[in-house]
């Protein structure tokens, strides 16, 4: 009756207690079979479907849709009044339709669709993830969920997938509304390359927001209380998007303070350091890439990497970048954003898998 237990095991025990029955797998074939989910489909899809429905019906979805819609519409209002003037002299403007996104108020330069969306969109990511895991924990639903026949990672995968779907939906809707507004009110028809540029920008924005989603998820796994993770999440958002520039100067000032009466070399070194730190900020990565994608006249990322590039930029004849060249220019940015997202999600995933079920 010890057929199922290796002989070695038995020998190791001096006094063998009544042995266990072998795991109920009589046929060798059945024993080889891996542990299978009773669901016809992967467990994460069930969780994602439920979470998605929850998000769509939640108050925060409505609020965020309104906030993002407003953030897009206000600059759009200014853009549409200016775009007519541009359209008059259309021969000189390379991409009229896309100007909807990049034009804004002349008085307030920040009032542009792209920079507004870039500022507000991370909110989406944090809002849909900050209480994903610790919310379930405090409600007492997590042990019940994990005791269902699903893998543990199905929970976190499903939640990420649901968040990503909602974000895609919201951003696509907002961009669609802006584009539709342009078509209807202004009667401008976008060129094919402009459509692709807008889609690429949309994709970039989704990647950027999913970074914040993964960050929110990480907070919700690591921190016990949803209020704390919300606070930290929004705090980091404000710090990075609003005070990012100040932060860079501060860090550079602490790490390598500029000596009094320093020569041009010191100033250059300091600028180089600031630039390096700036490059590490996801908001910078996003803004630079968005600018290149939406404006074909931008031929390089805002801060030149080398002095040679800076000189070249000054000597360059103003020209327009073709679509593929623009994409090539932002490729490293996209890769960096995806990598950051993966790192955040992996951290959340590992932390969740190692956590005890009990709170």
């Amino acid at each position: 009756m010890t057929a199922g237990i290796p002989a070695k095991r038995i020998r190791r025990r001096a006094v063998a207690p009544p042995s266990l029955p072998p795991a109920a797998t009589t046929e060798p074939a059945a024993r080889e079979r891996r542990d299978r989910s009773p669901l016809g489909r992967p467990g994460w899809t069930v969780i994602a479907a439920k979470e998605f429905a929850d998000h769509l019906l939640s108050a925060r979805f409505m609020v965020l849709l309104a906030v993002l819609g407003l953030a897009a519409f206000v600059p759009l209002y200014f853009a549409s009044s200016r775009i007519r003037e541009l359209a008059e002299a259309a021969s000189g403007v390379p991409a009229v339709f896309i100007a909807l996104f990049t034009l804004g108020s002349q008085q307030i330069p920040i009032l542009r669709v792209d920079s507004f969306v870039g500022m507000v969109a991370p909110l989406l990511g944090i809002a849909f993830a900050f209480d994903a895991v610790n919310g379930e924990r405090s409600e007492g639903t997590l042990p019940r969920l994990l005791s269902q026949p699903i893998h543990r990672d199905d929970v976190i995968n499903g939640k990420f997938a649901a968040g990503l779907t909602v974000i895609t939906l919201v951003l696509t809707a907002v961009v669609g509304v802006i584009a539709g507004f342009g078509l209807l009110r202004l009667g401008i028809v976008p060129a094919a390359s402009e459509v692709i540029r807008i889609v690429a920008w949309l994709f970039l924005t989704i990647v950027y927001v999913s970074l914040w989603l993964a960050f929110g998820l990480l907070l919700s796994v690591v921190l016990r209380r949803a209020a704390t993770s919300a606070l930290i999440g929004f705090g980091v958002w404000i710090l990075v998007t609003v005070f990012g520039g100040l932060l860079v100067g501060l860090i550079a000032g602490i790490v390598a303070p500029l000596p009094a009466g320093g020569g041009p070399d010191d100033v250059l070194a300091s600028a180089g350091l600031q630039q390096l730190i700036t490059r590490l900020l996801p908001s910078t990565l996003y803004q630079e890439a968005a600018l290149v994608l939406l404006d074909p006249s931008v031929t390089q990322v805002s801060t030149p990497a080398t002095i040679g590039q800076a000189i070249a930029a000054q000597e360059q004849i103003p020209s327009l970048l073709s679509l593929d060249q623009s994409l090539l220019l932002v490729w490293p940015h996209v890769v960096a954003l995806v990598a950051l997202t993966v790192v955040c999600f992996a951290a959340a995933y590992i932390a969740f898998m190692r956590q005890e079920v009990r709170a």
């Binding site: 207690p17 042995s19 542990d35 005791s147 269902q148």
Partner: protein
Amino acid sequence: MATTAPIVTRGLTKRYETLTAVDRLDLEVHGGEIFGLLGQNGAGKTTTILMLLGLTEPTEGKARVVGLDPARRPLEVKRRVGYLPDAVGFYGNMTGRQNLRYTARLNGLDRRDAERQIGAVLEQVGLSDRADTKADTYSRGMLQRLGIADALVKEPAVLILDEPTTSIDPFGVVEILDLLRGLVRERGMAVLLSSHLLSQVQSVCDRVGIFAAGRLIGQGSVEDLATTFGDDTSHVEVGLELGAPAEAERAAAILAGIDGVTSVAPPASAADVWRLDVQPAAEGGRVRQAVLAACAANGLTLTSLRAIVPSLDEIYRRAVVRSRVGAGTEAA
């Protein structure tokens, strides 16, 4: 030996860095019985349950739940085991029925089967009329009952309940325990429940296991445990109708004169009863007969006569004290 018991563990051990939460646990729970895992908070009950569900891995030892190893085949185990966690919660923005639907979907139940099953279990726990209101309007007792319904949706072969009666009013406790009894009778499930409220589960468990500091220090029916951990004394209560104080003295002498009675405690008030200690404990039945005969022979009017079953609290206290003494000797 071929144990076909739905829950079997052999030498099941869980160690955290310094703490041994569960220490070489040998347990068997059979179909159609309610097994109570009793112990204080932190005695290792929940850890044991989590190992049985494959939610945490044992450091050593083996477990078989419905014939499967939960550490290696957790999904199949979880498909067949209904679990009511300690302080169970539900999604407050969903109704009770929607919550159960989600569980049914996670278990891969066919939609039509699921609806029928959900209706049936809601009826069984008495929540049919509140099933379509939001779960955040439910009282603690209703959540607990919904939790049992939730565990039953998948039609489990084994039901594991962690502290099912905590934070429920006494009336609700009776309801839940009755419900469990009925379920075991109807479905022949194996039920493992953990509790630190000993007297509550005494009435409902067929067998109990006493858990202290990660070790199972005794298991069996309440009567068995009383024999194991008692001081070989049984107790008899005698109610007598007495007139003059002199009669009380006579009664005391008569009761003390019965063979096997070691002490007689007179009643504190007229309405109270006499308490007799009997040694050895097995003599209890004979002593009760002797009391009856002596009363008849001496013209004393009996109002009541009953054997006192030792309470689980008492047994538990003795068992814990004894295990501590034992551990102390080992250490020395």
